[in-house]
Symmetry: C2
Amino acid sequence: MAAHTDPRYLRSRAAILDASRDLLVELGPTAVTHAQVAERAGVGRATVYRHWPRSDQLLGEAMATVPLPFFDAPTVPARDWLRAELTALARQLEHDTVRAVATTLANSALWDANMDARRERFASILMERLAAALEGAHKRGEITLSTDPRSAAALAIGPLHYRSTIEHGDIDADLVEAAVNAVGTWR
Amino acid sequence: MAAHTDPRYLRSRAAILDASRDLLVELGPTAVTHAQVAERAGVGRATVYRHWPRSDQLLGEAMATVPLPFFDAPTVPARDWLRAELTALARQLEHDTVRAVATTLANSALWDANMDARRERFASILMERLAAALEGAHKRGEITLSTDPRSAAALAIGPLHYRSTIEHGDIDADLVEAAVNAVGTWR
C-alpha cells in the first residue's frame, strides 16, 4: 500500500480522473478509453492501466463524480421531454462500457458498501428527478399518473435497462414510446 | 486441474448440484444454502464451500439447469394470470440471493461466454413465453398490445427488475399493476 501515499502515484491518479471526467462530459462515455485518457492526462497508457485495468472501472469512477446528465431540466410539454430524455438514455445504454458500468454497479453493490452508496446515489437522483418532473406535469393537467410518482423511474427506465442489460437488444422508438406511456395517461 | 478428473470430486459435485436443484424446486431459492445442500447431498459443508464458495454461485448453477417456473402456463383471463406471475416473480426478486444471481449473470455475461449463454437462455425464454401468452390474449380480444409482443418482457419485467437490482426497494402491488398495464390496453 506504500505506493498509495507516493506523491507521483497520487498525482497521476488525479490527472487520470480529471481527464476521464472531461472526456465523459465533452465527448460521452465512448471517449473514456485508456488511450484517450492517457493522452489528455499527459501520462503513459501503462500508467492508466496500472490504476484502472478495465475501461469500465475507469468510466464508473468518472461517472460517480460527474453530475448525471439525465432528467435534470424538465421542459413543457413533459411528454416530449420524457421521450427525448429516455431516447438519450437509451443511446447511452447501448454502449458496452455503459452496460458494464451499470451491471458492475448493481452487482458489486451487493457486497461493497462504497459501490452500494454509488448505486443508491444514482437510483435516488433518477427517482427524485422523474418524480418531480411528473408531479409538475400532473399539476399542469398534462398527465394522470398511474402510480406513486416515485415509481416513474422504475416504469420508464426499467424496460430500457432490462432490454440493455438482460436482453442485450436494441432500444427502439416503440419501446421508448411504450415506456413514456407506462407512467400514466397523457392528455 | 487434476482434482477435476478425480472421481470423488466429480461425484460430490454431481451430488451437490442434484441436491441444489431439488431444494430449489421443492422449497425455493432461500433453501439453497451451504448447510441444507450439504445435508441433502450427504457431504460435508466444507465440501460444498470448496466447489461453490458463494451461495449465489451455487444457486445460479442450479437455476441454469432447472426449468424456469415463470410464465410457463398461461390461463384466461390473461390479465389475472400476468398479475399473478409478476407477483410471484416479484417475491423471488426480493431475495438477496436471487438479486445476486440476476446481477452476477448480467455482469459476468459481458466477458464470460458461458454466462452469456445462460443470460441469453433466460432472456429468450421469458421473452418468448410472454409474447406467446399476450398474442393469445390479443387474439381473444382481451388486450390491444402497445408494442411488438416481444417487448412485453422488457415492459412488464423491466420495472420489477429495476426496482429490485437498482433501487433495492419493495415491489408493491401498485408497481405490479402498472407493469401489467404497460404491455397494452386491457379490455
